[in-house]
Amino acid sequence: MEHQEDYTHYNFDAKYDLDRVPYWFYGAGHTAPGYPHKPLYEWNWVNHCNRGFRYAADKLSLPYSLGLDFRSYHGYELIRCGLPSAEVKKKRTEGFREGIKPILENFDELYRQSNEELMGYYKELKEIDVENSSWFELELVVEKLLALDQRMWEIHMYFNCGLGAVYCLFEDLCRELLNIDDKNPLFLKLLAGFDNKNLQVDKRVFGLSKRIKELGLVEAFSGNEKTEELFSKLEKSENGRQWLKEFKEFLWEDGWQSILFFEYEPSWIEDPTPAIITLRQFLKYDTYRPDEIRPKLEIERKQAEEEILSRVQPDQRSWFKILMNVAQKYSFQNEDHQYYNESYCFALMRYLLLKIGARLVKAGTMDQAEDIFFLVPEEIHKALADPEVYRVQHNVNNHRRQWEENRKIVPPPFWGTVGIEEAAKLLFEGKEPLLTKVSIGEFVPPRPELKADLLGLCGSSGVAEGPARVIMAAEFLGEVQPGDILVAPSTSGPWTAVFSLVKAVVIDRGGTLSHAAIVGREYGIPVVTNVIEGTTKIKTGQRIKVDANVGAVYILN
């Protein structure tokens, strides 16, 4: 194995890591070829995210899983799921009742408290005056950010694993008692009609577009100039300044939207262009109608709940209903948590780290503020110890050179001492719903009778036909036209607004509880997930037909 520079001690070493562990899968969903993590993100990821899993598995006393664990392969993620020994399994089984109970009895309140806890940290950190802090105070800020990242992952995984366990029981029972699975339209209706934080942010952006009209500023937005030019144009009029004031207030509250969740990428705070693109779309096309669609979805959901309950034996109804209600929250939480967890946390980390980076540049410790993302925490502390004297540019350079090399690597999909099928079985034995329901998605069974060009899973039911629009990254969302069918690798929080514009969505990777599926249901449009080769097979402008009910996509020309 060739040398890889140590960002962390979690670097993959085939000799030792495959000694007693039979497999490691390459997690292409988080680190696509060409996009390995940079050192700081990598360090936080392998130290905190997997510990979040272990925290959840231990707190919930899960008998079937120790949580996902990671190794870093040249900045790319390798994953496996730890399975408990017989002895641990026995202990965990004894503790499971008390471990899972709070989720069943008190989810809403626990979730509210956790979000409040995180928002408390964010509020405190947002107000830190980096420019006027002492170097030592900045060391403490760095430690606070690391602790925040750890806590965020703990909360994230606790709810994910806890609700996931409940959701899986519900899905199993629906299959056994009612003969419907989670791609059944009736089942999917149960998961829609819940407001979540990303939908609320979308609504606030729409509100800001209405303010543009009220203040007579539509003309200013009609061009395509860059955000800074638009802002300096708005600064010239009183109404323009008023709108900017409202927009900036909005950003300071809800602009902590990370575009990518797998790196510290600019949020709307740093570059509000994605929000401006959405605003221009709202002004140009009158397609946003959540107030018409959402109440309808809520009614449909209630009808579906009644329908499901009426099919359950009367003496089973009382506990089945509680099971259903908690399981429904899994879908809601999968979308809602992104705002409070990854999005806000990473945006805030980037915001503060860049400011610390700028201080280090000023002190002559390194060359660019962004270099801080090429340092691991120890190196940041080393720099902050005496920035006027120390230099860490050589650390940055080494890491950057290594990272550039890593970008050229295409990791093998799998490392193992067993076959890939056996390894997949072992991975899914951990019943980790994040893999099956959200990021990777379930296996799509072949259905040659449909004669479909692409086959996936039903994320949101319905049928639609229209021109395809292949979008590979959020920065290109401005190209989407009303009536398009969006085809993308996957979607996340900042993509939400585009769902009010398109007729249907097709994504390469994701399950029934992926962002695209959840938001598609809330906007009442068909979504097919997990087609794997959507963005490679479909070209922008091609007419396609989406029959989400059976998970089929047809290329018509």
Partner: protein, 344 residues
């Protein structure tokens, strides 16, 4: 050191329920977190015990029950036993040490209320919550009346349901649990009722449901009227639903005690709460739920003699019963999960 048989609510917290009963412990806790609660005082469970021992009531009851060596066989027998125990307890005087402490505390309340004869409520407080099982007396004026009602609350530990429950367990009725008593100034309420921080039928935790009617809250609690119904969204505090109840009767204060009156026609058709009152009640209920960490079933009243927002009072709170169902459902669901895990 004198044993404290009487303790002001200000000195009580929720963990003191074995000492003063659930209701008093919760009232003390509510007071300590700044909820609008009328400050009163509690007679401890020890006070009830002392009364039973010192007056010989316990011994007399035991002797009487020895006439039923095989326990109580049916409801008629339970009624008979309960009636006799009421007579025994009713014939006893409260021991002077308790009387003195009650007197001193009642006088403090009177002074605060600016009157010599303050009207109070005398409420039962079991160690285990049994809503509605024991007696409560409203609009009680003057020291001797208060003493009389305290004894009546104590005897209600031996009312028919309690006697029946204890003998069904195979226990001796003589060992019936002693209970606490709460004494607090009465609120002349314009409207009163209950609030649930989870929807009582659907269990939806995102909604608050308020039921209210004219006069004192007991008419809502007992189900004597069809109350007004308000459904409030927790996140936005928006009122989602308002349903006017028929509210045919109301309970109002008489000279001593309370009486039922017809509600005038025009009031029956109007809501008993304003929007701002509804929201205030909901807000307070949410802080109760947050504090106790689970859905609450609480009683509130709107004082006719003060104005918004100082007119809203909370009379008691307890975990919402639906949560108990939820608890057993949770156990059932965990059984299912476990059997699947072990089966696979």
């Amino acid at each position: 050191m004198t044993v404290r048989y009487v303790i002001p609510f200000e000195e009580i917290g929720k963990d003191d329920f074995p000492i003063v009963g659930k209701k008093c412990a919760n009232l003390g806790e509510m007071l300590s977190i700044g909820m609008p609660v009328v400050p009163g005082f509690a007679l401890s469970v020890e006070a009830h015990k002392l009364f039973m021992e010192e007056t010989g009531a316990a011994r007399e009851i035991k002797e009487y029950l020895s006439g039923f060596p095989d326990g109580l066989s049916d409801l008629t027998q339970c009624q008979e036993v309960s009636k006799r125990i009421y007579q025994i307890i009713g014939s006893k005087e409260i021991p002077p040490v308790i009387k003195e402490q009650v007197r001193a505390n009642y006088q403090v309340l009177c002074r605060k209320g600016g009157t010599d004869n303050l009207s109070v409520a005398v409420r039962s407080a079991g160690i285990v919550s049994h809503p509605g099982q024991y007696e409560t007396f409203l609009n009680i004026i003057g020291e001797s009346e208060v003493f009389d009602k305290i004894v009546k609350v104590w005897s209600s530990a031996f009312n028919v349901p309690s006697v029946a429950a204890v003998s069904k367990e195979g226990l001796s009725v003589a060992d019936s649990p002693c209970i606490g008593v709460g004494v607090l100034p009465i609120i002349q309420s314009r409207a009163a009722g209950v609030v649930f921080t989870a929807h009582p039928t659907s269990g939806d935790r995102s909604q608050i449901v308020i039921e209210g009617s004219w006069g004192m809250g007991e008419s809502v609690v007992s189900g004597a009227v069809t109350p007004d119904l308000f459904v409030i969204d927790k996140d936005s505090l928006e009122i989602r639903e308002k349903v006017v109840g028929s509210k045919t009767v109301q309970l109002v204060c008489a000279e001593q005690g309370i009486v039922e009156e017809d509600v005038p026609e025009e009031l029956r058709r109007s809501l008993c709460l304003t929007n701002e009152e509804v929201k205030k009640i909901a807000e307070l209920a949410m802080s109760l739920e947050r504090h106790f960490g689970m859905p609450q079933d609480a009683e509130w009243a709107v004082d006719s003699r003060s104005s918004f927002p100082d007119n809203i009072y909370y009379m008691q709170t307890r975990p919402q019963v639906a949560v108990a169902d939820r608890k057993s459902a949770a156990d059932k669901l965990i059984d299912l999960m476990l059997s699947r895990m072990l089966g696979s």
